[in-house]
């Protein structure tokens, strides 16, 4: 039974990787289309990730700890993009931020045109990936022992210091895991990106979009880029797992996996 599940998960990956000889695969990695797509993907996902963590962490902290009227509504809104099919998300972004969308007039007045720009790619990634991070971050912060934060308060730490010096390190395992999932989701984002930002090599064509456009022209190259995507995603997930494990085994974490001050004797 377990073997069946593992086989189901591994078979498509193995098929993809073994489709062509390694030499051709490596050649596919080095083509202009591939390198352009890598640069676009890493740049847009990097910026989106920085925004997501930079703005999302304090937001999640407040949401986790504060109690206010309408909190559950906000929590539901945060999770909404999760259940939106990416194409619908792309459509929603278009009618909100598109040239003739809800904010189109305001954007025009400010001289901003988002159509077919990298900014649009970043927005699309942010929209679909943030719920993954926010959800995990809220859960991680909610699990932080209240007394730790209160003690910090009594020692004179302000709210920002309490969050950065106490809550974040303690919640780091959960935050890291949530960030990893969100980044992987953002890297694979396709539907919202292609609808909202279009696809143009070197500007908006991310790795998933490159796979799609090559499907018509050159199947071998499409597969090579697909394998590249898998390798990059796997590397990120592995790094996140290792980071989470090293955090969890430090003495100040809630569930020490390694050395524990109570384990001796």
């Amino acid at each position: 039974m377990l073997a069946l599940v593992i086989a189901f998960l591994i078979l498509p990956l193995a098929a993809l990787i073994s489709y062509q000889p390694v030499r051709e695969l490596l050649h596919g990695f080095g083509t202009r289309v591939a390198t352009d797509a890598i640069l676009v993907s890493l740049k847009c996902n990097g910026i989106a990730f920085a925004l997501m963590v930079g703005l999302g962490t304090p937001f999640a902290y407040v949401l986790a700890r504060a109690r206010f009227r309408g909190r559950s509504v906000v929590l539901t809104l945060v999770e909404l993009p999760l259940v939106m099919p990416p194409a619908v998300a792309g459509l929603a972004l278009l009618v909100a931020f598109g040239r003739f969308g809800l904010l189109g007039g305001a954007e025009r007045a400010l001289g901003i045109d988002l159509a077919f720009t990298q900014a649009a790619v970043i927005l699309a990634i942010l929209f679909v990936a943030s719920p993954f991070y926010l959800r995990g971050a809220i859960a991680a912060f909610s699990a932080v022992d209240l007394t730790l934060v209160d003690v910090a308060a009594t020692l004179g730490a302000g709210p920002l210091r309490r969050m950065l010096s106490v809550a974040v390190p303690v919640a780091a395992g959960g935050l890291g895991a949530a960030a990893a999932v969100a980044f992987a989701r953002g890297l694979g984002e396709f539907g919202a990106t292609i609808l909202f930002a279009g696809s143009f090599q070197g500007t908006t064509q991310t790795l998933p979009l490159a796979v799609y456009s090559l499907f018509d022209a050159n199947l071998d190259q499409a597969i090579a880029i697909g394998v590249l995507l898998i390798i990059v995603s796997a590397a990120i997930l592995l790094t996140a797992k290792l980071l989470a494990r090293s955090w969890n085994s430090s003495p100040t974490s809630r569930f020490p996996g390694g050395r524990s001050s109570f384990a001796s004797g």
Partner: protein
């Protein structure tokens, strides 16, 4: 039935009971090559069916309609484009299909025939995977202009305005249809092709804006 995106509205009118998958002719060709269980392949160009015929994957392709490449702009034409030469103006946001899709191939050929390739391609901001996406980009006002078939422009009538290309752009295109040799329903496939070529099928195509084969 695997059919080019330009046939999205008219094929179901010809035969409402068939199962259709519409998309870029190149992507559909790849699916046939990979053994997709389809019965008929209809493309917006002679190239893809000919390539499949050379590999023995389809029967001899038959031309069933012609189409015309036109320039479309959003209805209120924010970039004030009135002719194909306006496409060379810097800053115009032009959307075309990618080169592997017939519509994109025709667009590039038209640019070449008009001698505006460099200037026009500089304005391309997105390359779509099928012609219906190009239409959508222009209809939604995201792009200033796009090159699509006149049948697509007709289908999006309220939202886009059409600018015909000059004859020297050679904007005429040809649609081909063929049955898959690996089809499990050879008789039904043949019947569908016959229906498309029949007077009633041709009348539907004419009504949608397609030309005679």
């Amino acid at each position: 039935m695997l059919a080019a995106a330009s046939l999205t509205k008219v094929f179901p009118q010809i035969d409402p009971h068939a199962d259709y998958t519409f998309g870029g002719s190149g992507a559909l060709e790849t699916q046939v090559e990979q053994g997709a269980p389809a019965d008929v392949f209809a493309a917006a160009s002679p190239k893809q069916p000919a390539q499949l015929f050379a590999k023995g994957l389809v029967t001899r392709p038959v031309e069933f309609a012609t189409n015309t490449l036109v320039l479309i702009v959003p209805r209120d034409n924010p970039a004030h484009i009135h002719s194909v030469n306006d496409l060379t103006r810097p800053g115009v946001k032009l959307v075309v299909c990618s080169a592997a899709v017939p519509c994109g191939d025709y667009a590039r050929k038209a640019f070449k025939n008009l001698g505006i390739t460099n200037a026009a391609m500089k304005n391309v901001v997105s390359q779509t995977a099928d012609v219906t996406q190009t239409v959508a980009d222009v209809a939604l006002g995201q792009a200033d202009a796009g090159l699509v078939y006149i049948t697509d422009a007709k289908a999006a009538a309220g939202k886009v305005s059409v600018i015909r290309l000059p004859p020297r752009a050679k904007p005429n295109t040809r649609d081909f249809i063929a049955a898959l040799t690996a089809s499990q329903h050879r008789a039904a496939a043949r019947a569908f092709v016959a229906l498309v070529l029949s007077p009633s099928g041709q009348a539907q195509l004419r009504a949608a804006g397609f030309g005679k084969p």
